[in-house]
């Protein structure tokens, strides 16, 4: 330790340099948040979005969609063992997982756009963590009462009444959590069958595992961890600062209007003081337990419930609403300096995100529209590279995979071009049939064929020439091509 370690000690309560103060805690207890019920515009929006999100989540797996015999009739289904993903009329094969990638990119860009416009509304309204936490808080409020009742209950010694309330709350939470985990697995298995199997003990270990996992995480994250997930665990709040600018709408306490704050009695003059009557309602309703009057804070999820609380108070005391409001930094500065400006929707940032959003959506839409129902892939034999036949002809072997993505058995005409007078034959039906061959693939399967291409002696001018396999569906316009090569002896 350096000798000057005690320098800088300036008072009795100041810590010694380089040494933690003896009573500084290594770990901080959570300061439990008891959000108070609130009514207002933003609360109504939040309830509506909660109802839509949860409704979609729980109901979508039960929507049926007829795809014909032998195919699943669930509208939205990710069939892992069957290697298919279904979304209403769209059916995706594993090699088309880029559609999922595109969807995620689309979601990300949409999130960027919304964040640069409206701040953390995703966090405040639509994030699963927020939605389920809100639902769990609703249950808690119904069973244990509102803020003050809950605080009193937690301070009471254990009694039968307290135990009953707590048990009822956790039981209700667990039921919701189990339903959440159950709904999750329904996206990966036929919902009616899976539900029956879960209750009759017939479901697979995988299903029980995931129901258990999602029950546990929902219960822990929405019941116990709550705002700590947003404050400590989630990376998104840290990232989104990059999307903010001075024209982003964020929940703002209008200090210039509210200060100096102080208690106010009916009939007192409002001259020479701010509109804030220091009633603490904004703090009481805050689901993350902060005081918005301290300015923009890392913990704020932008839900706007403090706005509702404050507006109710402002109405009561007869002052204008929106002492706390969704406002921009630039707008507030302009108001303070007496030149109110309009909200700027169109900014380089929003234009960029908007353009990206349209581009990605258009690309995705076009890709889906142009999606082919037949694909061909060809793997050329490497051992042996080629075979010389007794008449001097050169034969190359290929493994063809024909992907029939339709729900009907199909025949395809296979032809090759690039090597003059080449004959193709399929292994199994070992008769050379000229330069065309009819191959079939069953509905919704990959058909594999071993195909030989034979070039007569002397037609090869170089060691390797391009060879194109072309596949044409019978009675349909779909076609597929694959460029391979044909090899012979070194020249």
């Amino acid at each position: 330790m350096p000798l000057d370690m005690t320098q800088g000690t300036s008072g009795a309560d100041a810590p010694s340099a380089g040494v933690r103060s003896a009573n500084a805690p290594l770990y901080a207890d959570r300061i439990k948040v008891y959000p108070k019920a609130v009514k207002g515009t933003f609360r109504r929006i939040k309830w509506a979005i909660l109802a839509i999100c949860l409704g979609l989540y729980y109901v979508v797996p039960w929507i049926r969609w007829d795809r014909g015999p032998g195919a699943p009739d669930q509208a939205v289904l990710i069939d892992m063992p069957g290697r298919r993903a279904y979304f209403f009329a769209i059916e995706i094969w594993p090699q088309e997982v880029y559609f999922l990638t595109g969807l995620l990119i689309l979601a990300a860009v949409a999130l960027f756009l919304v964040t640069s416009l409206l701040g953390r509304v995703w966090c405040g309204y639509a994030c699963p963590q927020t939605v389920w936490t809100d639902l769990f808080m609703l249950v808690e409020r119904l069973i244990e009462g509102d803020r003050n009742a809950r605080m009193r209950l937690d301070q009471q010694p254990l009694s039968w009444a307290k135990a009953a309330k707590k048990t009822a709350k956790h039981a209700a939470w667990l039921v919701i959590a189990a339903a959440t985990g159950g709904a999750w697995v329904f996206y990966f298995a036929d919902a009616p069958t899976a539900l029956k199997d879960i209750f009759t003990g017939q479901a697979s270990v995988t299903i029980y595992f995931f129901v258990g996992l999602f029950t546990a995480t929902t219960y822990l994250l929405a019941g116990w961890a709550r705002e700590q997930v947003c404050t400590y665990m989630c990376p998104w709040p840290r990232i989104q600062a990059a999307m903010f600018d001075e024209n982003t709408l964020i929940v703002t306490y209008r200090k210039w209007r509210g200060e100096p704050r102080g208690k106010h009695k009916a009939g007192q003059s409002w001259d020479g003081r701010g509109d804030c009557i220091d009633c603490q309602q904004c703090v009481a309703v805050c689901p993350v337990g902060i005081d918005i009057r301290n300015g923009p804070q890392m913990e704020c999820i932008g839900c706007g419930l403090c706005i509702d609380a404050c507006n109710a108070v402002m109405d009561k005391v007869g002052r204008p609403r929106n002492l706390i409001a969704f406002a921009t930094l630039a707008g507030e500065q302009a108001r303070v300096s007496g030149t109110p400006s309009k909200y700027r929707l169109i900014r380089p940032r929003t234009v960029l995100y908007g353009t990206l959003l349209v581009l990605v959506a258009a690309t995705m839409g076009a890709a889906l529209w142009l999606r082919s129902t037949v694909e061909l892939s060809v793997q050329r034999d490497r051992a042996p590279l080629f075979v010389t036949l007794s008449d001097g002809a050169i034969r190359n072997g290929y493994t063809l995979k024909i992907l029939n993505k339709t729900r009907a058995d199909r025949d395809y005409a296979l032809s090759v071009s690039g090597v003059p007078s080449a004959k193709i034959s399929v292994v199994g039906a070992e008769t050379a049939t000229g330069d065309k061959l009819v191959l079939s693939a069953k509905a919704d399967t990959v058909a594999t064929y071993r195909v030989y291409v034979t070039a007569p002696a002397g037609v090869l001018k170089t060691e390797s020439v391009p060879l194109v396999f072309a596949l044409q569906a019978h009675g349909a316009r779909e076609q597929a091509q694959y460029q391979s090569i044909f090899m012979g002896p070194a020249k």
Partner: protein, 289 residues
């Protein structure tokens, strides 16, 4: 090294004393839940320690309460795999080669099994995919020394070529040069004649001189026009496929010293079902008759 901890003026929190380019680190205590997660991982590791092999002793190790071992895992997986294969293997043992070819299930199984067996036993000489090499026949072409039908392939693989097995394929080409049957000039003429059989350009005078020599010495096994004879493993000389090279020098060398390649009798090492699978696999390489 922390130099000086102080109270941050904005947050009112202590700093750790770490400072980088004027940026000071706040000494924010960790949240309690983080500590609980850490405890949970300790509990997890203890449970893991108890359940799975974890601690060495002088001669062995603590093998865990579940008695799990990766070796037993592999043995169980192999056993399960063998149980899956058993019905196919017994069906292959019972079926004829033609029946295996006709049943697509058996054919797929035989080709898959044959591929592995081929890679382990045959590929060192015959090459991956039966590509062959100088002195080692290409098995994917349509030219066969001892016959390319299923029965012939089965016999060749089972008993091999020119080995000690009593059922082995046997034949021997004389060493025309080394044993003084033909002179060097006569051998050169025969070589020219052999080249002409497959349409390769050759000196016509030498070809004429070689023709009677060929008829007298070679045609007995290789046929009048060099069409070969699979009964005695005599290669066809009238095609474009040459096991030891089709240029004149190689042919002269072959006539002078003979070749007589060998192959082991695989029935001495592999069971019958495996040889059947191998036969079907080789037959399907592209040249099966």
């Amino acid at each position: 090294m922390p130099t000086k901890s102080e109270r941050d003026s904005i947050t009112g929190k202590e700093t750790t004393g770490h400072e980088w380019d004027g940026i000071k680190e706040l000494d924010t205590p960790l949240p309690k839940w983080w500590l609980y997660v850490f405890y949970a991982t300790i509990v997890w590791s203890l449970a893991y320690f108890a359940l799975y092999p974890s601690w060495p002793t002088l001669s062995t190790h603590f093998s865990g309460l579940m008695g799990w071992s990766s070796r037993a895992d592999v043995a169980a997986a192999l056993k399960a795999q063998q149980e899956v294969r058993a019905p196919y293997v017994s069906r292959i043992r019972a079926a004829s080669l033609e029946e295996i070819r006709a049943d697509s299930d058996l054919l797929n199984f035989a080709i898959a099994g044959g591929r592995i067996t081929f890679a382990e036993n045959c590929a060192p000489c015959h090459g991956a995919g039966g590509a062959g090499g100088k002195g080692f026949p290409n098995l994917a072409d349509d030219d066969w020394l001892w016959g390319g039908d299923l029965a012939s392939l089965y016999h060749t693989i089972s008993f091999g070529v020119r080995n000690a097995n009593p059922d082995s394929r046997v034949s021997a080409m004389p060493r025309f040069g080394a044993d003084g049957v033909l002179t060097a000039a006569q051998i050169a003429d025969v070589a020219e004649y052999v080249l002409s059989l497959s349409g390769s350009t050759a000196a016509s005078a030498a070809v004429e001189r070689g023709a009677p020599l060929f008829a007298e010495n070679c045609a007995g096994c290789h046929g009048e026009k060099g069409e070969g004879n699979t009964e005695v493993g005599a290669p066809r000389l009238s095609d474009k496929i040459w096991l030891y090279g089709g240029d004149k020098a190689s042919i002269v060398q072959t006539i002078t010293n003979s070749r007589n390649g060998t192959m082991p009798a695989w029935s001495e090492r592999l069971d019958d079902a495996t040889i059947k699978m191998l036969t079907v696999y080789v037959h399907a390489l592209g040249g099966g008759k």
